[in-house]
């Protein structure tokens, strides 16, 4: 543990910048990767958030922006952490012209609130968050999509406009609240997945889609990851595209009745016009290879809980966990090549394999190394999420330096030369 020494002077100084109730001393429960911040600020509006960042820059404070604190495991341990800036009070709907199928919200608005708001108008939120407590700002900063990405599209493709506060005090907007736009450089793409290292998101406009007329889920039972890959190939060749497809390795606690040991559980989501969903359901069930069992869930009250369970399952904390990314048709063999004691969730349509292992800390390095080898054999991208601190410290959680790294460093230097925001947490010291 490398907790920062409490710094009363910084706290006092910040209290002069912000309204009284917007800042407090850091506590152990505020820690990020063992670093306890000296101060925690929750600015009530964008202007005071700007004041905090400009103050932090002048005072050479290292700041971690946070939203719902649901994804803080993602990233390297910080080099330094003096304070936390929470966007939770910057919440609420700014503009929701339902007929435009767009919604503009403040960054601290939770995924659950957005979903509830748009569902009341017969629309679907594109956030597909693993936790309803996640804020839209946090989800975009991390940039990971949920299990319905095949149908909803990647998160990066749903963002129409952003407002960002930069450490130099500039508050900037890029994009517009329209669904098609090439006016200037697309800076939105840079901010998504940047782990808050270029600025803090304060407002976002998202593209929405109509809620489909019908949905259904097929629960599949199959033998292993390779058969899951075979199912995926059959569906792709036949043009039977699902809204979501995930296979869960046998050790799981899914609330399903038929759960014989050693069976891989598949969740296949269908959504669209009622006639399309019925047609897909019938054709998929006949395409499935011999030995695959299936059960149809059509009532929302039985369909929704199983996907809710998957989202919880995907975000669970184990001794070690991570995510790998490769081509769709390689993802099954990648999952199959993981050590047998490792659990996984395979999302073949996106080429994503989430993996989990629990066990004694001293074995963690060995498991992590085995996963690294499997990833390299498939040219997979990797992200280490949960790990004992020694394992996290032994390499970079984002894997190797990607091409264009020097350009990335140039961007970080241009937007945050003093490394006010999340120093050390993004890849390779960015």
């Amino acid at each position: 543990m490398t907790a920062a020494e409490p710094s009363p002077s910084a706290l006092d100084a910040l209290q002069a910048v912000l309204p009284g109730d917007a800042v407090r001393a850091g506590r152990d429960s505020d820690a990020i990767a063992g670093h306890v911040p000296s101060w925690v600020a929750a600015p009530p509006d964008e202007a005071s958030l700007r004041d905090v960042l400009t103050w932090a820059r002048q005072q050479q404070q290292a700041v971690a922006p946070v939203g719902g604190r649901t994804q803080l495991a993602i990233g390297n341990p910080p080099d330094r952490l003096d304070g936390i800036v929470s966007t939770q009070r910057l919440s609420g709907i700014v503009d929701y012209p339902a007929g435009d199928l767009t919604i503009t919200v403040r960054a601290g608005t939770t995924a659950a609130e957005i979903a509830e708001t748009v569902e009341a108008e017969g629309q679907w939120s594109p956030l597909d968050a693993l936790s309803g407590d996640s804020t839209v700002g946090g989800l975009l900063a991390v940039g990971q999509s949920g299990p319905w990405r095949p149908g909803l599209g990647a998160l990066r493709d749903q963002v129409l406009e952003t407002r960002v506060v930069h450490p130099d005090g500039r508050v900037t907007r890029s994009g517009a609240r329209v669904v098609k736009n090439v006016t200037g450089y697309d800076l939105n793409k840079l901010f998504i997945g940047s782990l808050g290292t270029l600025g803090v998101l304060t407002e976002v406009c998202l593209r929405l889609r109509p809620r489909p007329e019908a949905t259904a889920t097929l629960l599949l039972g199959t033998t292993d990851a390779l058969t899951a890959a075979e199912i995926t190939a059959l569906l792709r060749r036949a043009g039977l595209d699902p809204t979501g497809l995930a296979f869960v390795s046998p050790r799981h606690d899914a609330p399903v009745i038929d759960r014989p040991p050693g069976v891989v559980l598949g969740l296949l989501k269908l959504a669209g016009a009622a006639a399309d969903v019925a047609w897909l359901r019938d054709n998929i069930s006949t395409e499935l290879p011999a030995g695959t069992t299936w059960t149809l869930l059509e009532e929302p009250e039985v369909e929704e809980p199983i996907w809710q369970w998957l989202r919880v399952h995907l975000r669970r904390e184990t001794t070690l966990s991570g995510r790998l990314g490769t081509l769709p048709m390689q993802a099954g063999t990648l999952a199959a090549s993981l050590p047998v004691e490792v659990d996984w969730v395979l999302r073949p349509w996106e080429g994503v394999v989430d993996w989990y292992w629990s066990g004694p800390t001293e074995q963690a390095a060995e498991i992590s190394a085995a996963i690294h080898v499997a990833a390299q054999a498939h040219q997979a991208g990797r992200l280490l999420i949960h790990a004992p601190s020694a394992v996290k410290a032994s390499g970079d959680v984002f894997g190797e330096r990607p091409p264009g790294f020097e350009t990335m460093r140039g961007l970080r230097d241009a937007f945050d030369p003093e490394r006010v925001l999340n120093p050390g947490r993004f890849l390779h010291g960015l």
Binding site: T172, A176, Y185, D186, G239, D276, T326, L327, A414, F415
Partner: protein, 479 residues
């Protein structure tokens, strides 16, 4: 800087025929599809590969010579036109399909490949490349990446940026870098996302990995004539609100219909007595498509559609689209010059904005034809004029600006798919603050610090702290 040294260097590595320098050869490169902006390049390089592009870029970099990337020159914002003496690097010889992976649904193509040839190459596998700008039989995928081009079908499928998985880029210093990955895994900043739509100012795309999507088994193309333009816009809003996501929703107004029907090349059989036609394409599975057709037909009739034409054959579908995709070409018959706008507004503001566009055109005594991607709120008011008439040119300019100002006032913006280029740079301050533009300038400066790669585009010149590249060029010249 020495052009001669650059040309000598490129010819020594690529061969003499890879560089055009004769006046007659250069003349066709003096403008793109916006004839208003003209500047003949000093020379044109025609590379055959990524490495040859890199040779040219390195030579420019070493000698401090500005250069402009160009695909087919179909751009509608002056993006491929030099603003000063510069070399043009044209990718038209690089048109190979390098790989098609049907199972993983991507293709790797060279930047100079014509848009429609990508879909042709992968049609046997039941896949296609979705972005379909009207110029798709001519324009290049490299140019589409530069402009983040749209097209009618981006209503359902998204614009170019949603379909680019990776780009091999010759950076402004001549280094070759791969941005993005075919599997969509992203590590670090999404440089691919920032590159797409950067109008050739961050580097030259040479090889592009595009996403392929399944070709829908069922397609229905319908045409609804309306007695009023307003009513057709209202019908579009109602269709969007109903929960149907059509593949395309296009409106052509009376002036456009007349231009199309008067053209022997583009005549589509549109009813010339209608105030507007709404072209609707629905696609998806056979199972549910007729329900969608019925819903859309009901909505259009409720909004006053006079009748419904339904394409029964592939030829009829092609005819309905010929009029839409040929609309710009057809307008060429009306007057010597065409001023094309590309404004975009929130879709619910479409009816009022269309009324205002018509009113602004009338007030300035101009002939305005509207043909637009109604489902996206992306308008194309086209003003036909004669540039030899100075008074008319001034009225076109004033009307154009009024349209932009009105669209921005309702939350819209300058360009939905054509780009800013030279054409709209002066209007950027209407939608962005100096701080916003400063962020854009930072991005450009990181990729393109010496401002040699397509200078003078996107960001307005003169004044403002974002205009660092202009001042730097001035300083270099002074030295």
């Amino acid at each position: 800087m020495s052009f001669d040294a650059v040309i000598a260097e490129i010819r020594s590595k690529l061969g003499a025929e890879a560089v055009l320098t004769a006046d007659a050869e250069l003349l066709v490169y003096e403008c793109d599809a916006v004839t208003m902006h003209r500047h003949t390049p000093m020379a044109v390089v025609l590379p055959n590969s990524t490495e040859e592009v890199a040779v040219a870029v390195r030579a420019c970099h070493e000698q401090g010579v500005p250069y402009v990337p160009r695909g087919a020159g179909t751009g509608l914002s002056g993006g491929a036109v030099p603003v000063e003496d510069a070399l043009l690097i044209e990718t038209s010889r690089m048109r190979r399909v390098l790989e098609i992976d049907f199972e993983n649904r991507f293709a790797i193509v060279e930047a100079g490949i014509v848009n429609v040839d990508v879909s042709k190459a992968c049609a046997s596998g039941g896949l296609h490349y979705a972005p379909d700008p009207s110029s798709q039989t001519v324009c290049t995928v490299g140019g589409n990446v530069a402009e983040n081009s749209g097209g009618p079908h981006c209503l359902k499928y998204g614009a170019t940026t949603n379909h680019i998985l990776a780009v091999r880029v010759v950076m402004p210093d001549g280094e070759v870098v791969d941005l993005g990955r075919a599997d969509q895994w992203t590590t670090g900043y999404d440089l691919r996302g920032a590159f797409v739509g950067s109008e050739g100012t961050l580097g030259i795309a040479t090889e592009i990995t595009v996403r392929l999507v399944p070709t829908p088994p069922a397609i229905r193309t319908l045409l609804f004539p309306f007695p009023e333009l307003d009513a057709s816009c209202e019908a579009v809003g109602a269709i969007i609100r109903s929960g149907i996501v059509p593949a395309a929703l296009e409106i052509l107004d009376r002036n456009t219909i007349e231009a199309v029907e008067a053209s022997p090349t583009f005549r589509a059989g549109y009813p010339t007595d209608a105030a507007a036609v709404l072209l609707v394409e629905l696609d998806g599975l056979e199972a549910g498509i007729e329900d969608q057709v019925d819903s859309v037909t009901t909505i259009c009739r409720q909004h006053g559609a006079l009748e419904v034409h339904r394409a029964q054959t592939a030829q009829e579908r092609a005819a309905l689209w010929r009029g839409r995709k040929g609309a710009f070409g057809a307008m060429g018959r009306l007057a010597p010059d065409l001023f094309v706008q590309d404004v975009v507004v929130p879709r619910t503001r479409l009816p009022e904005i269309i009324r205002e566009v018509v009113e602004i055109g009338a007030r300035h005594g101009l002939h305005v034809s509207n043909v637009f991607h109604a489902g996206d709120g992306n308008l194309h008011p086209n003003i036909t004029y004669d540039r030899r008439d100075a008074d008319q040119v001034e009225r076109v300019r004033r009307a154009g600006k009024e349209i932009i100002v009105r669209c921005v006032a309702v939350g819209g913006t300058l360009s939905g798919e054509h780009g800013i280029g030279l054409d709209k740079a002066e209007y950027m301050t209407l939608v962005f603050t100096e701080d916003d533009l400063e962020s854009m300038a930072k991005l450009r400066e990181v990729f393109n610090p010496r401002a040699l790669c397509n200078p003078g585009k996107i960001l307005p010149s003169g004044g403002g702290c974002f205009d660092r590249q202009a001042s730097r060029l001035a300083t270099e010249d002074a030295q």
